[in-house]
């Protein structure tokens, strides 16, 4: 593809035009990130009067800290569960809506609403539904012999944040899956039907492989989402508890830094998270755009 090159009257103009974007990025992203990297190598005294360079001490300690390693495991479980659940349900919903001809738009609009709900509100919503004293679901679950109390039971707390985070993300995945499904030509489905493949076989051998670029893209986006954007959901429902059971990596950055006031360790943790994002983004750019095609 040949791209059109614009010729500017003066050499400075293009730089001037991109300057606002560059300045915003530098002040609000690059500089704070640089500060985090810097303070992850430093130790500050309790009164903030002096800092000393400690090298990789914070990193070393983190990887020996059982609480941190446990949080890593929890985050992996959380990220995987949310990605699988929200993508799975979104694919089912998108396939269902894709079969509709006239009412499709109405369903799509309704299914998009959760995405417009802010993470904190989503969290509180589910917190109410699952509230062990006033919530409707624990009341129902009691008939099945389940004693629901996510304020005491760590496993249940994890289930709660997985549900809340997945619910919010389904809309986004749904939209992409629906667009992906609509770009699969109808004639392929028809050809496969004539070739003797039933609806399920058609889906798994024709439609699903053709959706692979969308699926891969969403996988990366969802992993990113669960690792970083779920802070609001967790803070509003469980606040990392009970007993650290929902303290994921991103929540730990906050609780160690702002509540525990261990700025050095918190910075080191955010630098590690930053590396995760960088790796995921690189994978996304390299593979989504080159490898995953047909």
């Amino acid at each position: 593809m040949d791209t059109k090159r614009t010729v500017f009257p003066s050499q400075g103009l293009p730089y001037l035009l991109v300057a606002p974007q560059l300045i915003i990025t530098l002040i609000f992203f690059i500089w704070p990130a640089g500060q985090a990297v810097k303070s992850s190598f430093e130790r500050e005294d309790p009164f903030g009067l002096s800092t000393s360079f400690v090298g990789l001490m914070h990193y070393g300690r983190l990887f020996q800290d059982p609480a941190y390693l446990a949080s890593m495991g929890r985050t992996a479980l959380f990220a995987l569960a949310v990605t699988v659940i929200s993508m799975g349900l979104a694919l089912v919903l998108a396939t269902a809506v894709n079969r509709l001809i006239r009412s499709g738009t109405a369903y799509s609009t309704l299914l998009l609403w959760p995405y417009a709900v802010s993470p904190v509100v989503a969290g509180i919503l589910w917190w109410f539904i699952f509230n062990s004293t006033t919530g409707i679901l624990p009341y129902v679950l009691e008939f099945f012999g389940v004693d629901w109390n996510h304020q005491l039971n760590g496993g249940q707390a994890m289930i709660l944040i997985i549900i809340a985070a997945s619910w919010k993300q389904i809309s986004y995945n749904f939209l992409f899956f629906l667009a992906g499904l609509q770009s699969v030509p109808q004639s392929l489905n028809e050809a496969a039907a004539i070739d003797g493949a039933g609806p399920f076989k058609r889906f798994w051998t024709i439609v699903f492989p053709l959706l692979s670029p969308t699926t891969f893209f969403l996988m990366i986006v969802n992993l990113n989402y669960t690792m970083f954007d779920t802070f609001g959901v967790i803070d509003a429902t469980t606040a990392g508890g009970p007993n650290q059971a929902t303290n994921t990596l991103v929540y730990k950055v906050y609780s160690d830094g702002y509540i525990g006031l261990n700025l050095g360790s918190s910075s080191a943790q955010s630098v590690i998270l930053m590396l995760f994002v960088i790796v995921l983004t690189v994978i996304q750019f390299r593979y989504v755009e080159r490898r995953v095609q047909y």
């Binding site: 030509p185 004639s187 392929l188 028809e190 050809a191 496969a192 039907a193 004539i194 070739d195 003797g196 493949a197 039933g198 076989k201 051998t205 024709i206 492989p209 053709l210 692979s212 047909y294």
Partner: protein
């Protein structure tokens, strides 16, 4: 291999839009029938109803001895070649060919044998391990054909398979499809809007218009004796000249013959018009435009008193120039009479 029978077939879409009005058609075993007509005439809908991709509102469709109205496309044992080929983009050519056979549980050796045979016939053996996007339009077309023939179905259905190819390739593939169909002797239904393709391919031609069949017959029969005004105007290039009788009578004067009662439009093929003198309706006019096609020339002649220009075909090079006056004759035996109101032929 089987015959295909359509009895009183109708298609009504939601909202009471009738796409097909009661069509009766029987296609014999081994025959290649071409459905031709302008876009929106219902030819593709009819084909898709035979394939099982559209439901049948009324009437019956049978393939061989079985009524297939309620059968899934897979159970009808037909193969279809789509306009956009519909090759599975994530599979290699070989996998594309094997897909239908695997779904039917054909044994491995049999699959290999049939794929090898199809690849040999269609000369696609060198590309078997490539993906469809690595192939040219003509090669994709061959693969689509291959996918149909490996199945050895009762019938082939073609939905404008050549319309995405350039003119030269279209001509080549047309001949190949004809040759292949002759050697396999598989009953085929072929849909096209291109009347030249239709004429050259068909054993029998079905001209459709507005969801109805206008005429069925051998291509030459349709050319020689069009049963309606629509067929007369649709088949043949350049198209038949169609003139209102009263205008023609006013211009022709004494040379105007008495026509069959009821005929108020007469038609004449451009190549039947005789330049110079002779028996028939004598006319004269001014040459407006000459289209040299190579082997023949098309003359657009303006006759005073007649609204539209008449088209004349002269073999070889035109021996008149533009803006010159010429005399010509419409031989009586070459005239086709039609009734304007019914649109049908009057004998």
């Amino acid at each position: 291999m089987a015959s295909i029978d359509l009895k009183g077939v109708r298609k009504v879409y939601p909202g009471n839009v009738t796409a097909i009005h009661s069509v009766d058609l029987s296609i014999e075993d081994g025959e290649l029938v071409v459905l031709v007509g302008p876009s929106g005439c219902g030819k593709s809908t009819l084909l898709r109803m035979i394939a099982g991709l559209e439901t049948i509102t009324d009437g019956t469709i049978s393939i061989g001895a079985d009524v297939v109205n309620n059968k899934e496309p897979a159970e009808r044992d037909i193969a279809m070649v789509f306009q956009n080929y519909a090759l599975y983009p994530h599979m290699s050519v070989r996998q594309n060919l094997e897909y239908g056979l695997k779904n039917r549980g054909t044994p491995r050796e049999e699959i290999d044998r049939r794929v090898a045979e199809a690849a040999r016939v269609l000369e696609i053996a060198p590309f078997l391990d490539r993906k469809p996007r690595q192939l040219s339009g003509g090669q994709r077309q061959r693969v689509a054909m291959g996918r149909a023939i490996v199945r050895q179905p009762k019938a082939f259905l073609f939905d404008e398979p050549l319309s995405n190819l350039d003119a030269k390739l279209r001509g080549q593939m047309r001949i190949e499809i004809r040759r292949l169909q002759r050697s396999l002797k598989t009953t085929s239904v072929y849909v096209t809007h291109d009347q030249l393709e239709a004429m050259t391919l068909a054993d029998r031609l079905v001209v459709m218009n507005g969801g109805r069949i206008e005429q069925v017959g051998k291509p030459i029969e349709l050319y020689d004796r069009p049963a309606s005004l629509f067929v007369a105007g649709f088949i043949g290039s350049p198209p038949m000249n169609l003139l209102p009788v009263e205008t023609l009578a006013a211009v022709a004067g004494a040379t105007m013959p008495t026509l069959t009662p009821g005929a108020d439009i007469v038609g004449i093929r451009p190549d039947q018009v005789v330049l110079g003198g002779g028996d028939g309706i004598a006319l004269s006019g001014t040459v407006e435009l000459i289209e040299p096609v190579g082997g023949e020339s098309h003359l657009y002649v303006r006759v005073e008193g007649i609204e539209q220009a008449l088209i004349l075909v002269q073999q070889g090079r035109a021996n008149v120039g533009e803006a010159e006056r010429i005399d010509f004759v419409l031989p009586i035996q070459a005239l086709h009479g039609f009734n304007r109101e019914s649109g049908r032929r009057v004998e």
